[in-house]
Amino acid sequence: MGKAETTLEIPLEISDVSGQKVFSVANAPTGNTVGELVHEMLGKMNLPRNDASGAPLTYQARLEREGRHLHASERIGDALERGDKLTLQPNIDAGQGCC
């Protein structure tokens, strides 16, 4: 995790949607955004960037404590608490003008 100017950091636990990959992040900078955290973790967790048909996947983080998806622009320090568990999951839409 890149160091932000502020030294405030919190530990987080981040997993993929299957629960197979669980990463402990000891020092997530509170000044960073959730989008920056997700972007960085995708590489570390080696999550697929494309779906089965080759279309690019985008991911979002779901905060288990509140049962909601976080916006990429939310600041870690504002939205998260120490020890929060996040699940990274792909954004998949279906059925819009379907079939």
Partner: protein
């Protein structure tokens, strides 16, 4: 189209009417105590036009065997309520996602979900989920008057009639089989099968249960199911709707099954291989051999 403020207003009115206590917990989040028999503390939140309800018991640490049992009972819960597993824990919880419609419809869905929650708590407390399955959903049999075929044909989803009150619908997912839509005594049942196996090995069944219950917590409306018929075991996702659903609910439900297929079908196929299933159970710290393998984990500095 409902605007966010109208959606929120409907949701808050229903929560107020149906809750003995309602306390705001944050933006679009509430803690409510509902009463339908026993008092029950439920977390409610509003996101993307869905009212999300969740009940997390304080102490549940399921075993692989228990999760397999839970999966078998999952599609018996009323109101589309489902058992789900957080990806970072071994504790089952109950949840439901309800599309926010008109106030009266929302209240009806909310009350059905409460029945599902109460039944689900019984399942969580029971050591044998199967023994207590099946009573709650059936009471919603009455009252279907809508024409299911008409409802589906007016939707943007391609459908075909397969029998009396039974249809198949093409999902928005490549290589997915058609979803099965049928009217049952508990309401409208929409389901898609992910995998089928002849006598799947125990680790495969348990790994599929863990995986599908985990993904259920990330999917709206769709809940995992398994069934055995003619010596074959099927695993998939189901959406349970009232007997006279709103067209918008049908649309959301079919979209949910499409997303479920796209998220899980390949992975579910892999888990039919016993070696892969054992690896997955070990990664989730749920090995059938009681080893204490920890999830793949890294400490970052």
């Amino acid at each position: 189209m409902r605007f966010a403020s109208e959606t929120a207003a409907n949701a808050v009115r229903v929560l107020n009417k149906c809750s003995a206590e309602l306390r705001p917990e944050g933006p679009w989040r509430w803690s409510c105590v509902v009463q339908n028999g026993a008092r029950l503390a439920v977390a409610a939140s509003l996101e993307d036009g869905f009212l999300q309800l969740a009940f997390r018991p304080e102490t549940t640490r399921a075993t692989a065997w228990g999760l397999e049992r839970a999966l078998k009972a999952n599609n018996t819960l009323a109101g589309g309520v489902k058992l789900a597993l957080d990806s970072g824990s071994r504790g089952l919880h109950l949840r439901a996602e309800i599309a926010v419609l008109e106030e009266q419809q929302l209240m009806d869905r909310f009350e059905r979900a409460l029945d599902g929650f109460h039944h689900g708590i019984g399942l969580l407390k029971s050591s044998d989920c199967e023994a207590r399955a099946g009573h709650a959903a059936a009471q919603y049999a009455a009252g279907f008057s809508a024409n299911l075929g008409e409802l589906l044909r007016e939707s943007p989803w391609g459908c075909a009639e397969r029998g009396p009150n039974e249809f198949s619908v093409e999902l928005d997912a490549k290589s997915a089989p058609p979803a099965r839509i049928r009217m049952t005594e508990s309401g409208l049942d929409m389901s898609v099968e992910l995998v089928r196996a002849n006598q799947a090995a125990e680790p495969c069944r348990q790994a599929l249960a863990v995986f599908l219950l985990t993904v259920s917590s990330a999917l709206r409306m769709a809940r995992a199911w398994t069934a055995t018929a003619d010596g074959q075991e099927s695993f998939g996702f189901q959406v349970s709707l009232p007997a006279a659903p709103d067209p918008e609910e049908v649309n959301h439900g079919l979209a949910a099954l499409s997303v479920a297929w796209r998220m899980c079908a390949r992975e579910a196929s892999v888990l039919l291989h016993e070696a892969a299933a054992r690896c997955y159970l070990a990664a989730r710290d749920l090995s059938t051999t009681n080893t204490t393998n920890k999830p793949q984990s890294e400490e970052e500095n």
